[in-house]
């Protein structure tokens, strides 16, 4: 605990962090993260992927097995949660039911010894920020789920921490409320210049809110990138499958050049863009976004196939089709609902195609 605060260092750093409960199963393995000041950083992954454990280690409720975690350049291993000065929003709000909303917000100020005269004003100001003016005397039990969530956020902000952790804060709310609060949390974060570390299993939420996202799978980070990069340029098969929809084709590399490889699939050869240096004979997974596949006149795309239309669904703004191609009998195509597509029917034989850059060759993880 002798190191000093280095201003140029990232706000939160995980360096080679491992976590195991039983000594055998690694819940988190060799984790490296840098969260910059003012960033909205999301830990995204399915349940059991280790993201919540990371958050708990950062908050101080779990100890890392090895590695180092620093906040403002200071290692926090020996710092109890109350001394880390982190605002935390819990999964089920964790509002104190025996206190009013005002007392809930006042609590962190009281334990910090802030005089009563200042407390009331700060509570009022913070409640206004989450648009709950005048709710001081209500009990948490009398509030709706959305209001309780706002109180929980206000309570995590009222003592003005610069780092706020949120553990699936919107998980219990319905979709409309969730989307509304996504905007609000994002606005508050930017207004106050907060560093937020956010945990969710909802990839749309992660995409909508984050500056950067770390995708977790089985205790390991698969990729850390902005939402756009994660969507457009996944580097791992898991990321490709987890973020948005992707069709996966499997096959062996026939030849590989810089920027292009040819892959042998059960339905023929496919030209793809390799994201890593793959070698002939290697198994790869090809990821193709449904909306990047088109119905084609001959020789429009680098990859074209004649297929039977197995299903076609009208989904309002787009049409959703299912075909069998290159060994994948569940290949989805999304076509925008614009003039010209009404002509195809179930059972028709159609020509589909996609470009090289929309077909990424990833290491096969199966």
């Amino acid at each position: 605990m002798t190191s000093t605060v280095k201003k140029d260092e990232a706000h939160v750093v995980f360096r080679g962090v491992d976590k195991t409960y039983d000594g055998k199963t690694m819940v988190v393995r060799d984790l490296d993260l840098h969260v910059e000041r003012g960033e909205f950083f999301t830990l995204l992954g399915p349940s059991g992927s280790g993201k919540t454990t990371c958050l708990m280690m950062l908050a101080g409720f779990e100890a890392s097995t090895s590695g180092e975690i620093t906040i403002d350049g200071r290692p926090v291993h020996n710092l109890p949660p109350r001394k880390r000065g982190i605002g935390m929003v819990f999964q089920n709000y964790a509002l104190f039911p025996n206190m009013t909303v005002g007392q809930n917000l006042s609590f962190p100020l009281e334990v910090r010894g802030i005089p009563a005269s200042d407390r009331a004003e700060r509570v009022r100001r913070t409640l206004a920020m989450v648009r709950l003016e005048g709710m001081e005397n209500r009990r948490p039990g009398e509030l709706s789920g959305g209001q309780q969530q706002r109180v929980a956020i206000a309570r995590a902000l009222v003592f003005e921490p610069s780092l706020v952790l949120m553990d699936e804060p919107l998980g219990a709310l319905d979709r409309r409320l969730r989307e509304e609060l996504q905007f609000e949390i994002r606005n508050i974060q930017q207004e106050l210049g907060l560093t937020v570390v956010y945990v969710t299993h909802d990839q749309q939420e992660a995409m909508a809110m984050s500056t950067r996202v770390a995708v977790f799978h089985r205790g390991q980070v698969q990729q850390i990138a902005t939402p756009e990069v994660l969507y457009e340029e996944p580097e791992r098969e898991f990321v490709a499958r987890f973020i948005g929809d992707n069709n996966i084709l499997r096959g062996h590399v026939l030849s590989a050049d810089e920027g292009q490889c040819i892959v042998d699939t059960p339905g023929g050869e496919v030209k793809a863009f390799p994201v890593y240096r793959c070698r002939p004979g290697e198994k790869v997974a090809l990821a193709i976004r449904p909306e990047r596949v088109g119905l084609a006149q001959p020789r429009t795309y680098s990859n074209e196939f004649e297929v039977d239309l197995r299903d076609i669904l009208f989904v309002g703004d787009h049409l959703r089709m299912r075909v069998k191609v290159c060994g994948n009998s569940n290949f989805i195509i999304k076509l925008p609902n614009i003039a010209g597509h009404g002509a195809v029917l179930k059972g028709d034989r159609v020509r589909i195609g996609w470009g090289i850059m929309d077909c990424r060759a990833l290491p096969d993880e199966e």
Partner: protein, 398 residues
């Protein structure tokens, strides 16, 4: 439709009928008849109807008429023939000590002869008959409905003028005993809370497997009879018992310095605390199970020390369990009988032991009933106060 629903409801209610009858016959009727005895004692009135009728017109100051003496003498004589006089004399004696021997002596003297003057004969047999107080006591003993048992139970009495006065300090028994019972019950409740709270917390916050095991251990004592548990404490605590032996063996006590831990108040406290502990732990556990462990984490993430988090966040949320457990233990211990009877010795007796004494030894059921009513009222009073302070409705037992 409504008719068939009503029929179904009646049939459902009819299923509980056996229980209702059982409870009525085995609980409410005996309890009611017992409690009635505390203020209704017709035995003397039934035994001496004519004398009491004459005494009704008496002014209570001068000596009664010759006719009254004669009637009483004859009634004594006929009671003696029916061998009922002893019981009646005992009852009267409870109101006016010394009356039993007076009556029996007089009846013996009057057995055969037909005296000229009944008054002279009876006063000759016992001078007490010459005093107005004796007759007043007789008249009081003849009341069918009386508060005398309650007066006795509250260490009160009537003086010669019939005013209610407190007994002299050396003759006060029941109020000090009731007070002691309340203090001991309160002490047991507090000890149970202090001992049980951490245990309940541990059970509520352990993994399911461990929580089940701990709960089993808490319930384990119920598998053995109360009597066995209580006598085990005698084995452990007595002068040559396990605990004293151990303390002597490791040199904390000298062999002549063994502590008297049983057959006194200490024994009652230790044994009752152990026996009543589950009744504190279970309601506490039931409430703690519903308090999210997130709350303590949230408190510490907000900057609170464990102490602050516990006192401001956790403890208030467990109050319904504290209330339920405390009330349960307090009420159970205030009426506890068997354990103080076995390990309490002379100083560790509680009010219920006194009730049992009057039921089984002195056979003064009226007084026993009055003490029972007072005990019941005390519990009711505490319940009421408690309801006002804590609120019974918010309380959870399981």
């Amino acid at each position: 439709m409504a008719q068939s629903l009503r029929g179904a409801r009646i049939r459902a209610a009819a299923l509980t009928l056996p229980l209702v009858i059982f409870i009525t016959v085995t609980f409410f009727v005996p309890l009611g008849s017992m409690l009635t005895r505390s203020f209704h004692s017709p035995q003397v009135a039934d035994a001496l109807p004519r004398t009491l009728a004459l005494l009704e017109d008496w002014d209570g100051q001068s000596g009664p008429q010759e006719e009254t003496f004669r009637t009483l003498g004859e009634e004594f004589r006929s009671l003696a023939k029916q061998r009922k006089l002893g019981g009646v004399a005992t009852r009267i004696n409870r109101l006016e000590s010394g009356m039993r021997s007076t009556i029996l002596k007089t009846a013996r003297k009057l057995r055969r002869d037909q005296p000229e003057s009944w008054r002279e004969a009876m006063v000759a047999a016992d001078e007490a008959w010459g005093e107005a107080g004796t007759w007043r006591a007789l008249r009081r003993a003849g009341e069918r409905f009386t508060l005398q048992h309650y007066l006795n139970a509250l260490d009160l009495d009537r003086d010669d003028a019939g005013r209610i006065v407190t007994q002299p300090p050396e003759r006060r028994i029941y109020l000090p005993l009731l007070w002691r019972t309340l203090v001991v019950s309160l002490a047991i409740t507090v000890i149970c809370l202090v001992l049980g709270y951490p245990v309940a917390y541990l059970i509520a916050n352990s993994s399911p497997a461990r929580s089940n095991l701990l709960l089993l251990l808490v319930l384990l004592p119920f598998w053995t009879s109360l009597l066995v548990r209580t006598t085990s404490w005698i084995v452990l605590l007595q002068n040559q018992g396990v605990v004293n032996d151990l303390l002597v063996a490791i040199g904390i006590l000298g062999d002549d310095g063994r502590i008297a831990m049983v057959y006194n108040m200490t024994g009652t406290l230790i044994a009752m605390t152990q026996i009543l502990l589950p009744f504190m732990i279970l309601p506490l556990f039931a409430v703690m199970r519903t308090v999210s462990p997130q709350h303590l984490r949230a408190a510490s993430s907000l900057g609170a020390t464990f102490r602050q988090g516990f006192l401001r966040v956790y403890w208030p949320q467990t109050l319904p369990g504290v209330a339920a457990g405390s009330l349960l233990v307090f009420i159970l211990s205030i009426g506890y009988y068997i354990t103080p009877a076995l390990v309490g010795g002379r100083t560790g007796q509680l009010i219920s032991n006194m009730i049992a004494y009057h039921m089984q030894q002195s056979l003064n059921w009226g007084l026993a009933a009055a003490l029972g009513v007072i005990l019941l009222a005390t519990v009711g009073l505490f319940y009421f106060v408690y309801d006002r302070l804590v609120g019974i409705e918010g309380m959870r037992f399981s």
